[in-house]
């Protein structure tokens, strides 16, 4: 297992490098930061001075060289909008997003595993039809619409929840609920399908012939066999949230990484974009390693070497 993690890390370093190069050049294709940070009527001399100060006058390869050199020293450059080191800005926003993911995903998994399993136990039954119908709505309703309607109903009309911000636990209820909707909808369907396959297996027949009760058949015998595709999809959804729940963070004014990235792109704050992409990519890499380890824990037939 140790050598497996080492090998995977090595592969990931390569992917990260490619990603960094792409982000560096793509960001610079959006135009010059000088257009945004200086007044429209700024003279050519002031523009030149601004570009000189932040190194934008150098040829691209020189800028890239500086960027790589800084990276080796864990220096991602200065943020234009905050006038602080970009890494600090990103690391300040990231915990908010991580917390959002850490609250949302376990809830998503809990709800969808229970709902999906019960639906699969009697396919075509009342519960199954209801669960399939609701999960389909959850999977296909646009996030931003639910977020806005949520604010309108619970914050503006009923006045039971705050509209935006992060102050109290109450602030988390709407964002988490909206964020759960789509992953739960998708995951219920995955759990249901996967459980139906598991429940029609021969080993379930064996368990019934042994006299094992229905609950143990579903949650002990079938569930663990049904988990692999569920883990795959769940990790994908988790990576999506860690990458920045852009819409939810924007609607609810959540100072997370998604909001930061959008703002930085809008303001051509290259250093922050680069730092944010690198940090989220690292997080996704860690999620993938955890998923691989989970596979091996769930299914003894999977061994890494």
């Amino acid at each position: 297992m140790g050598s497996f993690i080492f090998k995977r890390s090595l592969q990931s370093v390569f992917s990260l490098l490619v990603l960094i190069v792409l982000v560096f050049f793509l960001a610079r294709m959006t135009g010059s930061p000088a257009d945004l940070y200086l007044p429209q009527d700024a003279s050519a001399e002031i523009r030149h001075q601004f570009n000189e100060q932040f190194g934008f006058n150098d040829p691209l390869y020189v800028q890239f060289g500086h960027f790589l050199w800084g990276l080796l020293h864990f220096d991602m450059g200065q943020s234009l909008q905050f006038s602080r080191p970009a890494v600090d800005v990103v690391l300040q926003a990231f915990p908010t997003t991580l917390t959002l993911a850490a609250i949302t995903m376990p809830l998503v998994i809990l709800v969808s595993v229970i709902t999906g399993s019960l639906a699969a136990f009697r396919p075509g039954g009342v519960f199954d039809r209801l669960a399939s119908f609701i999960s389909l709505i959850g999977a296909s309703t646009p996030n931003f619409w639910v977020a806005i309607v949520g604010v309108l109903v619970f914050a503006v009309t009923l006045r039971v929840l705050p509209t935006s911000g992060t102050g109290t636990p109450l602030h988390w209820i709407l964002p988490v609920a909206v964020l759960m909707l789509r992953p739960t909808g998708v995951l219920v369907q995955v759990v249901r399908t996967s459980m139906m396959t598991a429940l029609s297996s021969a080993y379930i027949k064996t368990a019934r012939a042994k006299g094992v009760g229905s609950r143990a058949i579903v949650f002990v015998h079938a569930l663990r066999n049904a988990l692999l595709p569920v883990i795959t999809v769940a990790s994908d959804q988790a990576a999506g949230i860690v990458n920045g729940a852009v819409i939810v963070e924007t609607v609810f004014g959540f100072p997370g990484i998604g909001k930061l990235m959008i703002d930085s792109v809008m303001l051509r704050d290259f250093a922050v974009i680069q730092a944010a992409v690198l940090v989220t990519a690292l997080a996704v890499f860690v999620i993938n390693i955890i998923v691989d380890i989970t596979y091996a824990l769930v299914d003894p037939r999977i061994r890494y070497s």
């Binding site: 297996s201 021969a202 080993y203 027949k205 064996t206 368990a207 019934r208 012939a209 042994k210 006299g211 094992v212 009760g213 143990a216 015998h221 663990r224 066999n225 769930v298 299914d299 003894p300 037939r301």
Partner: protein
């Protein structure tokens, strides 16, 4: 044995409503079994033999199935009227069941010791006692080093061991009745014999009743006291095993007995083998996993010798049978003959040319002359293609063999040749039975008019009576087209009926080869003797 039946099924009918109408899977079926007795339920696929027995353990899902009438009396009590939780208490404790494919029937993600102990735990034994007892049981069914192996998972065991584990779990609470659904069909012949012996000895020990569901007359002959013969959901004949095997009264039973392989005369060749042309020559061929091709000498102790120094010759018009159990290397050998895998060392010559040194275009031409038929006709036919597309595909690959406008006519000819109808050409594989699908695969193999057809377990998945029909077809084609076959099978009786010469493989080596008559009447190698003994059928009227 008392005269009171342990289990009695009376006039049971089970049907499955489907879009095409109601399927009567079990139609007014009655049978019974006494303590200590072995009842065999004999039938081919679709006969309803498994469904009636599964109903005893409440394993038939209703809905969709409808149990429309009848009784299942266990010690005089109708199980169909017993509430579900009470039936759960009977399952595994009083009546238990084992299944055909022991790999699928064991849960892949739990240790086997846990699974054996589960039977005890669900019926109220505490986990510690259950675990200790599970280890005893594993020892009893012949699993070596049970304490260590109890912690291992199903995929770490061989087929025979898995079935022993299933048996350990089924007999954990010394049930009155054990229902075994095709318990040996997925196993090698020598392992089959061991598992049947184990079941019989356990039965002798605690006097349980045994219901054995099988399609295999050999199994019936070896262990059954009484037999119920089923066809199309009905019982066609019931009686003492010996009486039914010697003087069956129903025509279907007679047909089954006649279709049994291994009861006909040996295949002999009209022309002396020396004067026939050599098509395929295999010389010192080895396939070793874990070393580079051509470096067989580097093979360390860890390398797996799948095929070890094989030598044989296939002449035109000859049928070479390759027999061996799983892991003997017979399929690896076939893959090398087809060029799907290169030999690690040695040469395979087709018509005098070394296949390994051939250019791509030469190899392409050889493929035209050598075709194959695989074991599973469901998996080897593309479900989205029509029969016409499947059979004509070889002409699309080997351009220039047949102009496109003649394809349809030739496909129809080929379909008629293998016993199918011209209007089958536009259907899809799922609309055919297993036997018909294998005929389609044979038609496809014939499309390029090959000289050699390699059949890898080509009839193993088929029912006995269908097997006999497909073998007859292969024989006719051999006569009409002068085809040579390489016929790979684990079923010795089938090979005996069809092959002109035989190779016996054991752990990658050819331990014996020669004309079929010699191998079957005077085997020299110990392993051949063991194989023959295990598969022997003592039919009174066998030739």
């Amino acid at each position: 044995m008392t005269d009171q039946p342990l289990l009695e099924i009376k006039n049971l009918s089970i049907s499955f409503p489907s879009r095409r109408g109601v399927v009567h899977a079990v139609d007014d079926v009655s049978w019974s079994v006494k303590p200590g007795e072995t009842l065999a339920i004999l039938g081919e696929s679709g006969s309803g033999k498994s469904v009636s027995a599964s109903a005893v353990l409440d394993l038939v899902d209703a809905p969709p199935a409808v149990i429309s009438s009848g009784q299942i009396l266990y010690r005089g009590r109708d199980l169909l009227k017993v509430p579900r939780d009470e039936r759960q208490a009977i399952n595994g404790r009083k009546i238990s069941m084992i299944f055909q494919d022991p790999l699928a029937a064991l849960n892949p993600v739990y240790p086997i010791g846990w699974q054996v102990a589960e039977t005890l735990r669900v019926h109220g034994v505490d986990s510690k006692t259950a675990h200790a007892r599970a280890i005893e049981l594993l020892h009893k069914v012949g699993i070596d080093d049970p304490e260590r192996r109890a912690r291992q998972y199903p995929h770490q065991f061989s087929g025979g061991q898995r079935q022993r584990i299933m048996i350990a779990s089924a007999i954990a609470l010394e049930p009155d009745l054990l229902i075994a659904d095709e318990p040996t069909s997925a196993l090698d012949v020598t392992v089959q014999a061991q598992v049947l012996d184990l079941l019989k000895s356990l039965q002798a020990e605690n006097g349980m009743g045994l219901v054995l569901i099988t399609h295999d007359l050999g199994v019936v002959e070896k262990v059954a006291d009484r037999v119920v013969v089923m066809q199309n959901g009905r019982v066609v004949e019931t009686g003492a095993a010996r009486a039914i095997m010697t003087s069956p009264s129903h025509p279907y039973t007679r047909k089954l007995l006649d279709a049994m392989p291994g009861r006909h005369g040996f295949e002999t060749q009209a022309v002396a083998s020396e004067t026939r042309r050599t098509i395929l020559e295999v010389q010192d061929v080895s396939r070793i996993y874990g070393v580079q091709p051509g470096k067989a000498k580097d093979a360390g102790p860890k390398a797996i010798r799948a095929v070890d120094n094989a030598n044989f010759v296939l002449r035109s018009g000859e049928t070479l049978g390759i027999v061996g159990e799983s892991g003997s290397g017979k399929s690896t050998l076939a893959r090398m003959l087809l060029g799907l895998e290169p030999p690690t060392s040695g040469t395979i010559r087709f018509d005098g040319k070394d296949m390994n040194g051939m250019s791509a275009s030469e190899a392409f031409k050889v493929r035209r002359r050598m075709q194959f038929v695989f074991q599973d006709p469901t998996a080897s036919l593309n479900p989205r293609m029509t029969i016409g597309q499947i059979v004509s595909e070889p002409w699309a690959i080997h351009a220039g063999v047949l102009p496109k406008k003649e394809w349809r006519g030739r496909v129809i000819e080929l379909l008629e040749r293998v016993g199918l109808k011209p209007d089958h050409i536009d259907r899809h594989p799922h609309q055919f039975s297993g036997g018909q699908r294998q005929r389609i695969a044979i038609a496809r193999a014939l499309a390029l008019q090959p000289e050699v057809i390699v059949c890898d377990e080509a009839v193993s998945a088929l029912d006995v009576s269908v097997q006999a029909q497909v073998i007859d077809l292969l024989k006719t084609l051999r006569r009409d087209f002068g085809l040579s076959y390489i016929f790979i099978a684990h079923d010795l009786a089938l090979v005996r009926d069809f092959a002109t010469s035989v190779i016996v493989m054991y752990r990658g080596q050819i331990v014996e080869q020669g004309p079929t008559t010699n191998i079957y009447t005077a085997p020299r190698h110990d392993y051949t003797k063991r194989l023959l003994a295990a598969s022997e059928v003592h039919l009174p009227d066998a030739a």
